[in-house]
């Protein structure tokens, strides 16, 4: 071993994000002082982003199996079986820190990374979603960040050719210094055509494919595992630059190569690039890997081993190929104009050996790099229990109309059209429900389709992490149900603050416990996910945001439900009864300026019963429209149903005692459905027979708008102006 030219000092160790005891652990593991390349490698493998060292203990408690689960967490993405030999491959991942520093490239490469995770497994991406959280609208950076992030997501996804069909956008001051960009990708594969990262066979070529390696993104994963301060801007050079054109070519080349039978193992180069991908392939297959960095295609001259091993240049793949297919494989990659280089071989030494310019730059035990990463049981404190807010203490407003319109036009509740019109949501010709409904629906083949959505209500999780964790899963499940789909499995993207603070760790622990409970009760396992910690700036943590991305199966598109009212005279039926929980509601925040109280509790038994009933009546074609009740309550729900119809409205009657509670309470497990006037009575009776509160609250009116007895009459135009006006106004849109 050549003497390391750079002395490893405590300062250097610190700059690599390793704690002194973690470094000591590493020195003990290898029995000597590491080289600088080795220090770089271990910093990449043992940071929070790659090792899950703070979260692993808790992630293990989540249910990850089910009769449709083919692959749970631990691979590039989760895989579920949707019948007929079809499999859905999906995952959600964060790109928070890079997107805050450089919103366009940060979000674009977030999309690129998650698409790669999906097609690495042999699936063609068929849908993309994104869950975005920005700071307060009035914060000076917010508009710039919204503009850049949305353009970046569109810029990458549109060019790559995947329909971006859904997602979320929220604003809150707690994201002022730390936005969240969570990107989800969904792919379609054959159940017998799934590819994994586990290498098998000694002496086989390790092949580098795709784009060239540059100096971009060095230490990206380490950055993602640190808090921000006011100098965050200085980290701009660590943000990678995306090239969706190369990724599109890489997709086509990879799928073609997979079909040729040449691929034994494949791993995309994501966080910590060559390091993580090579270690993953070797360690999983109980093999060593020898890499010769002189063979790595480089974009820049004079790159060191350290830089090559830590580069996060995008659009790159590592594969182990069948030697006899090497020529065929190379021809496919050349056809697509991509680099193809044999950069190493699998060995039986269980060592990860890196040579460069005739020198051995690293020689590490491959399995221990992953297995022996530190794992922490961080101290945590029980979150305080928020107080229930008695609805009787909330005075009835003199006029309901301005309250309804203010909520409908508020930053969190208004139409997201400005956002999703920048995403090509139609490409591939299979989009059966575009953004704006409860869940997006994408056709698979014939009548079969999948439903997809992302959900979480961060203010609920902040107030009560356990109930909030449950609610995120329940709402996702409910949104899939609302279109008529059977929820199958989910991916989670757990965004939290600094886990070294016991109160943040408490949020994490309790939110996971809530997610777990909901997954079990709703038979909705976790098949993939990502943890993003240290989302803090100057000690201010984000709202805890465990985003849940769900996939459901719709066997017959002809019974798909949508939120739009269909015909005047249809009866409007409330399933699940009127609400009474006003704590943490949008009404309390937007109208009374209070962010307080306990969020609505989630009764999972009730959730399941109500959802199963709604799915049943959808599939029996007994309803004409369905929308779940969530943020903003019944009023928001009805307004959205009216707006989606284009011209129709709702006329409803409420208890005069507290119409504001009925309109704005956010109690869970509730839906509004419409049905023909003749069918209403039977539908309500059927619900009661199933033990579910249901009542007809009004009917669909030909004169659009929203008429609430007593107290409010709002025209369609007023609803539309309020709902559609805020976002373009905020972004300062010029016409056309």
């Amino acid at each position: 071993m050549t003497q390391a030219p750079i002395k490893i000092t405590p300062q250097l160790v610190k700059e690599h994000g390793l704690k002194p005891d973690e470094y000591d652990r590493f020195v003990k593991l290898i029995g000597r002082e590491p080289t600088i390349t080795e220090l770089g490698i271990v910093s990449a493998m043992w940071n929070e982003h790659c090792s899950y060292k703070s979260s692993k203990k808790w992630l293990k408690t989540l249910p990850t199996t089910g009769k449709r689960v083919i692959q749970g967490p631990g691979e590039n993405a989760g895989v579920i079986d949707i019948g007929d030999g079809d499999a859905i491959v999906f995952k959600m991942e964060s790109h928070n820190h890079p997107s805050f520093i450089e919103p366009y490239q940060g979000s674009a490469t977030g999309v690129g990374g998650i698409l790669r995770d999906v097609f690495t497994m042999g699936a063609r991406p068929i849908a993309a979603l994104n869950a975005l959280r920005f700071g307060a609208p009035e914060h000076p950076r917010t508009r710039h960040l919204v503009s850049g992030v949305v353009a970046g997501i569109g810029g990458y996804g549109n060019s790559f050719g995947v329909p971006t069909v859904g997602g979320e956008v929220n604003f809150h001051p707690r994201y002022n210094g730390n936005i969240l960009v969570n990107a989800m990708a969904v792919g379609l594969a054959r159940t017998d055509g799934i590819f994994y990262s586990k290498a098998t066979g000694v002496g086989l070529p390790v092949v580098y494919l795709g784009a060239k390696t540059g100096r971009d993104g060095i230490h990206g994963a380490t950055m993602a595992s640190a808090e921000f301060d006011d100098k965050a801007e200085e980290k701009r050079p660590t943000v990678q630059v995306g090239d969706p054109f190369t990724e599109k070519c890489l997709l086509e080349a990879c799928l073609e190569l997979m079909a040729s039978g040449a691929v034994i193992a494949i791993q995309d180069m994501g966080a910590a690039g060559l390091t993580c991908s090579a270690v993953e392939m070797g360690a999983k297959g109980d093999l060593g890997i020898d890499l010769d960095l002189d063979k790595v295609p480089c974009r820049e001259e004079g790159m060191t081993a350290y830089e090559m091993m830590l580069s996060e240049s995008q659009e790159r793949m590592l594969m182990v190929l069948r030697p006899e297919k090497e020529k065929e494989a190379e021809a496919i990659f050349r056809k697509w104009g991509l680099d193809f280089a044999i950069v190493g071989y699998t060995t039986d030494t269980l060592r990860f050996r890196i040579s460069h310019q005739g020198e051995l730059k690293a020689d590490l035990p491959i399995k221990e790099l992953g297995d022996q990463a530190p794992e922490y049981d961080r101290p945590w404190t029980e979150p305080a229990q928020p107080a229930f807010i008695d609805p009787d203490t909330i005075p009835t407003p003199n006029d309901l109309k301005p309250a309804i319109l203010k909520i409908l036009g508020s930053p969190d509740m208004c139409s997201r059209r400005w956002v999703w019109e920048q995403y090509d949501h139609l490409i591939q010709s299979n989009t059966a429900q575009i953004p704006g409904g409860d869940a997006a629906v994408v056709r698979i083949a014939g009548k079969k389709a999948i439903a997809v959505t992302t959900d979480v209500t961060p203010r609920y999780v902040e107030a009560d992490p356990f109930e909030g964790g449950k609610q995120a899963v329940a709402e996702c499940w409910r949104n899939l149900t609302s279109v008529g789909a059977e929820p199958i499995a989910l991916t989670d993207n757990l965004n939290f603050g600094n886990p070294e603070r016991p109160e943040i760790m408490g949020q994490f622990v309790k939110a996971i416990a809530g997610i777990r409970e909901a997954c079990l009760a709703l038979n909705f396992p976790v098949v993939s996910g990502n943890v993003s910690l240290y989302n803090e700036t100057n000690g201010q943590a984000i709202l805890p945001t465990p985003a849940i991305g769900g996939v459901g199966l719709l066997p017959d598109l002809s019974v798909m439900a949508t939120i739009a009212f269909k015909a005047a005279g249809d009866s409007i039926v409330l399933i699940g009864g009127h609400g009474s929980h006003i704590g943490q509601s949008i009404y309390l925040r937007e109208i009374l300026g209070r962010e307080e109280g306990a969020p609505p509790p989630v009764d999972l038994g009730r959730e399941r019963r109500h959802g199963d009933f709604v799915r049943k009546i959808i599939r029996a074609r007994k309803v004409t429209a369905v929308h779940d009740i969530s943020d903003g309550g019944l009023a928001q729900c009805l307004a959205e149903m009216a707006l989606a119809s284009g011209t129709l409205g709702a006329e409803i009657a409420l208890d005069a005692h507290a119409p504001h509670i009925a309109l704005f309470a956010e109690d869970q497990a509730r839906y509004v459905v419409t049905c023909t006037a003749e069918g209403a009575r039977a539908l309500v009776e059927e619900a009661w027979d199933a033990g579910i509160a249901a009542e007809q609250i009004g009917e669909v009116a030909a004169a659009g708008g929203l008429i609430v007895w007593p107290g409010a009459s709002i025209s369609h135009e007023e609803l539309r102006n309020a709902h559609e006006g805020w976002f373009p106004g905020f972004m300062g849109v010029n016409p056309a």
């Binding site: 353009a151 569109g154 810029g155 549109n158 060019s159 790559f160 050719g161 090239d243 969706p244 054109f245 190369t246 599109k248 070519c249 697509w336 104009g337 999703w420 019109e421 920048q422 995403y423 090509d424 949501h425 139609l426 490409i427 591939q428 010709s429 299979n430 989009t431 059966a432 056709r443 598109l557 849109v733 010029n734 016409p735 056309a736």
Partner: protein
Amino acid sequence: MISAVIVFPGINRETDMMQALEATTGTKPVAVWHAETELPPVDLVVVPGGFSYGDYLRCGAIAARSPIMNDVRAKAARGLKILGVCNGFQILTEAGLLPGALIRNAGLRFVCRQVKLRVENTRTFFTNRLNQGDVVRCPIAHGEGNYVCDEETLSSLEGEGRVVFRYVEGNPNGATNDIAGIVNKTGNVIGMMPHPENMIEPLHGATDCRPLFESLLAA
């Protein structure tokens, strides 16, 4: 009616187009790789949408110089019917087969939404099943669909009835005279920004663009 769909690296709506052609004309189109130098014997060549070469340099510029485009130009000159959609339209202008250019949308953002198109010329191979003045719903999905040309070209386009489609009830990209699609002087090359291939079955929300494809059978 046999058609060929040209595939450049970065093109991504070729499958949508091939499925639409097959569903409406009953014949599966042939995919032709850009590096080919000769077109197969076909009645129609479609240059589909997408981001050929990532739209780097200038949208359509690199694809317009692909080997296959020499044969496309040669056969277009002999009357072969050519349809360019979205990036395909951009490529045809870059290849000199259609006049004018497509520049950044006036709003500077990519726009994917349903628009309305008025059919202005029903004498073309893609509109002969429609009536003059018919309005069809059709989605757009582009960032550079703002049609521009010099005064002389514009007056010739308008004067000779060569504007095939015009945006009505709103111009989504700032295109000159609301132009959404045009045809060349000899009537065999059409370019349009909207995506009729995404509006042909109930799943798409409407089937307004089916008659466009059905026109191919009569042509």
